[in-house]
Amino acid sequence: MAAALQFRNLTLGYDRHPAVHHLDGMIESGTLLAVVGPNGAGKSTLFKGIVGLLPPLAGGIERHGVAAHDVAYLPQAAEIDRSFPISVYDMVAMGLWRRAGLFGGIGAQGRHDIEHAIASVGLTGFEGRAIATLSGGQMQRMLFARLLLQDARVIVLDEPFTAVDAKTSADLFDIVKRWHGEQRTVITALHDIDFVRANIPETLLLAREPVAWGRSAEVLTAENLLLARRMCEAFDDKAALCADDVVAA
């Protein structure tokens, strides 16, 4: 199986302080990977690095045969202006950007795909509703419909099931499984350890530094989870230069 993403001694962070420290590893194409770790472990930071919103402090990410526009990203706290006067239909239609671009029409095929995507997330009948009227769960369903239309090879989901009810997360996870079945690479941050053990084949346990990476059952042991919690120390304003880098220099 070919690699979709390769991390080489990747360090990501803010203002020189690392939030993801010395990550090495490879995500194979078609993998369904859970990224697990305490709050502040660097999960969101890693995702921003993967989608190219945050340049690495050191090391790098290689995308093998995956163009930047082949990566779709659902951030944890999307910066959506919910009061904006736009309908669910138009919002989902944004997912066709790659096909339609700045000026292209959507066409009959596009309209069909939009309706299909809206139906897949169970929002049929909501097409004309303003996004301001959606509940949190409906909002997340709508964003999944948009992701469906983006038709990306790599899909990055930052805590997609936080703050949605069981029915919604089950429905949305069906879509994730469908993506996995279609050989797409799906990387998702999750908090429910039992859920990950039961449903996701591969896990990266992160606590700034990678704690373990491999088959979910082997990674998510009690010892590893305890270790992860301890390693997530606070941001130190007076931290010295990273020893690894000093030695390397």
């Binding site: 999307a78 910066e79 904006f84 006067p85 736009i86 944004m94 700045l102 303003a130 996004i131």
Partner: protein, 288 residues
């Protein structure tokens, strides 16, 4: 009725010119105002209106009441202030609103100083309150040309502009078109204020931009409908304001804005979408 509503325009050419000018202005400024409002930048129009003053004043100082010089000066000053404010906001800790405030105040002080160095009070009044009743061919062409450019550019950047407003994170993740679209939009704001100040003056130019947008917010839930309503509301205000000015003798620029203000208050009270009367007397709740 004819005497009241139509005669002023059929009898006097200057009234016809004023009508054409305000119509063109409303068509361009309305949609811009809607985007400013939705981006929570309503006061940016006001700040930019002040910012173009020194440019227009320098143009005036150099070549008197020359349309070209004052327009070019206004455009340059507006774009410089918009650019500097954006730059400072990006490079330093100062937020965009604060840095815009500093530059527009500087710009305004500079403008008033320049005007007072040479001009008489009458000239200053012309710059501040415009002269919708004295639009010559050149000015009309400028205003109509600006409205045309505005609509054409808006059509070009409409998609990225809307997406950037609703979901900037998504826009960044699919395309780099967001930032250029935003810049083009700011330029359109400046262009419309410059054409507005010939007709209504710098202080009121922003009124024909923001009041119709605020009116539209109370009548539509969809941005395309909102843009249409804003343009129509601007045109109605222009027409009714000119009539008010003709029959009562009040200055035309303020009259247009006052009419727009009355439409706004009516919308605020009786608007379909979130109007006060609807909020106070919502009626019985529905079944589902």
């Amino acid at each position: 009725m004819y005497d009241l509503l139509i005669a002023p325009f059929s009898e006097f050419e200057f009234m016809r010119r004023a009508l054409v000018g305000t119509m063109a202005l409303a068509v361009g400024a309305g949609p811009i105002g809607v985007f400013l409002m939705l981006r929570r930048m309503s006061l940016v129009g006001d700040a930019m209106a002040h910012a173009i003053l020194p440019g227009a004043a320098i143009g005036f100082l150099v070549s008197g009441l020359s349309l070209f010089a004052m327009t070019a000066g206004g455009l340059i000053a507006g774009c410089v202030v918009a650019f500097l404010a954006g730059l400072v906001a990006r490079v330093t800790e100062l937020k965009e609103d604060a840095s815009l405030a500093t530059f527009y105040l500087l710009s305004l002080a500079l403008g008033v100083t320049i005007v007072s160095l040479k001009g008489t009070n009458i000239d200053l009044l012309h710059v501040l309150f415009g002269s919708v009743l004295a639009l010559d061919d050149q000015t009309l062409i400028l205003i109509a040309g600006n409205a045309t450019i505005t609509l054409a550019v808006l059509a070009l950047i409409y998609r990225p502009l809307v997406i950037e407003c609703v979901d900037p994170g998504f826009m960044r993740s699919v395309s780099a078109a967001g930032a250029p679209a935003h810049l083009a939009f700011l330029t359109l704001v400046v262009i419309n204020l410059v054409s507005g100040f010939h007709a209504l003056g710098t202080l009121l130019a922003v009124g024909i931009m923001m009041l119709p947008a605020a009116i539209a917010r109370f009548w539509a839930r969809d941005i395309t409908v909102m843009i249409l309503i804003a343009a129509v509301a601007g045109m109605v205000s222009g027409y009714a304001g000119l009539l008010l000015s003709y029959h009562s003798g009040v200055p035309s620029g303020p009259a247009i804005i006052l009419v727009a203000g009355m439409l706004y208050i009516a919308s605020l009270l009786f608007g379909h979408v979130g109007g006060l009367v609807r909020q106070l007397f919502p009626g019985k709740h529905l079944e589902a």
